[in-house]
Amino acid sequence: MNRDRSLIGWLAVPAVAYLVLVYALPLLWLLARSITGPEGISFALFRDFFADPFSWRVIGNTMRIAGLVTLVCLLVGYPVAFALARAKGVVQVILLAAIILPLSVGVVVKAFAWQVVLRRDGVVSQFLVGIGVWSEPQRLLFTETGLVIGAANVFLPFMILPIYSVVKLIDPRLMEAGATLGVGPFRRFFRILLPLTLPGVVSGIAFVFSLAVSMFVIPSLLIGDRFQTLATLTGRSFLLMRNEALGSVTATVLLVLAVMIVLLSSLLARRAGRFS
């Protein structure tokens, strides 16, 4: 029995070796690089970084865009997850395909589609002018709104799928039971569905937020260099400016922020769902 268990452990070796080589070691090197100066260990790089108002603007951009993208994905994805979980047969297959297939289309390909949608005479602009929300056509491409729309499009499946996997397990009779106890639909949602789907919501938020906070290609294509996030700044530092010191600092800040948000959200969820 013990022998079997130790043998099973060996199955993880390829993955562990791979991750250590291509992920953990470079990451450690990167972190080390951010706290080593010419005179040994120093936090001078971080002090300089946080003293610069530009850095704060970049952090603000990063958090705002990631937060908005996550929010849009949550608002759009939450009902879809229910539709997907409660749909049957062909409808469910079609819905699932519609959600998963776009993942196989590269971001660069999508960017061309977004240009059609987001430019001044694009679909969104024409629609909003048509229904009278806008008085004249406007360009969404190369704006923060356009970036949020595009990024939410890419990350939406990562919100839908974890929520779907939780909703699928919820007995539809629970809502009926709530109703027969005299509780109206609005309160039933907040007292039954929301707490029960919370684990899925938290996974979805963690997925989308960590993807959105570190996205590099999408902002480059949809908004350009005027608008910097921690991820694009890290990329530029390494690729264009050859400033590895700045790059490792921004990368570290980005990593800490993302991990903090993910940990915090799962902590809150655990507190909210005592028995789940």
């Binding site: 009926e176 106890l181 028995f275």
Partner: protein, 357 residues
Amino acid sequence: MSEAFLEVRNASKSFGTATVLDGVALEVARGEFVSLLGPSGCGKTTLLRIIAGLTSAESGAVILDRQDITARPPHKRDVGVVFQNYALFPHLSVAENIGFGLRGRVARQEIAAIVTRFLELVRMGDFADRSVRALSGGQQQRVAVARALAVAPKLLLLDEPFSALDRKLRETMQMELKRLLRELGTTAIFVTHDQDEALVMSDRIAVMNQGRIEQLDSPQALYDRPTTPFALQFVGLSTRIFGEVTSVETDGTIAVTTAHGILRAQGRFARGSPVLLGIRPERISFGTQEGHNSIAPRLADIVFQGARVQAHFASTEDEPILLETSARLPADIAPNAVLPISWAPEDTLVFPRTADS
């Protein structure tokens, strides 16, 4: 019944081309315990869901306590439901489950008092703060009943609440529920496919078949005087013999010619009508008796059931002739013996023979 507390009028429902409920009417008095008994697919759960407002009927009306609730959503009906799988809220404790329907309606202290009272009533006092996931089937069932009753519904509906429990526990829970509902004076409708359960618990039983109520009667009347062949077959055991009325006498006795000879029964049938005779197994006894229907079939099997013994006789019909007695059989009675048996003409139930009987 002076006035119906619950009245279902002409309820119909079909899913696609299948008619699930076909113009069902039902009246239940205040404080009454009525069972809907029938095989799966007979429409009993659909009728329950229509009363609760969880399924909408295509036609018909539901009137509860003089109010037409047909168009009301389930949360405005005052109708509690105990679901087959209990549908307890897995994220809440036992006490929170029971108090679920009270929150926002009564003061916090009062909720605590009501919850405590119902925890005691269903003997779950020690489990208030447990997660419902850690409970056994019987305990979950108790919590589901307490949760439904805590909001003091006008009517309680139970959808096969004991089907997941083993037999011993089921019998205990049946008695407990019966006692609890009587104490609280709750009007209840109970869906089951288990005839024993329905007989034990109900004031009246509605036997349902193919979307219709075939007979609505007290358990005893249902057993002694089933009005349709389906009711005869579904409730209790019986022997069925097919025949044709060959003579009608002035005192209401009819003579029916069957494969077992001429058998007498009481009923109003015209000469020549095809009929189905039904006899309860405990009404048949060994030996012959003056004025009784007597036949001499071959004994096929003896089934010992403890308190009773069942004798199966070969019949010309597909099913055996059943005799049941609480007496011990003489030791020399063995399979393949041809034995005279008899029963009284008034214990012979007669039904017009229909295409499906």
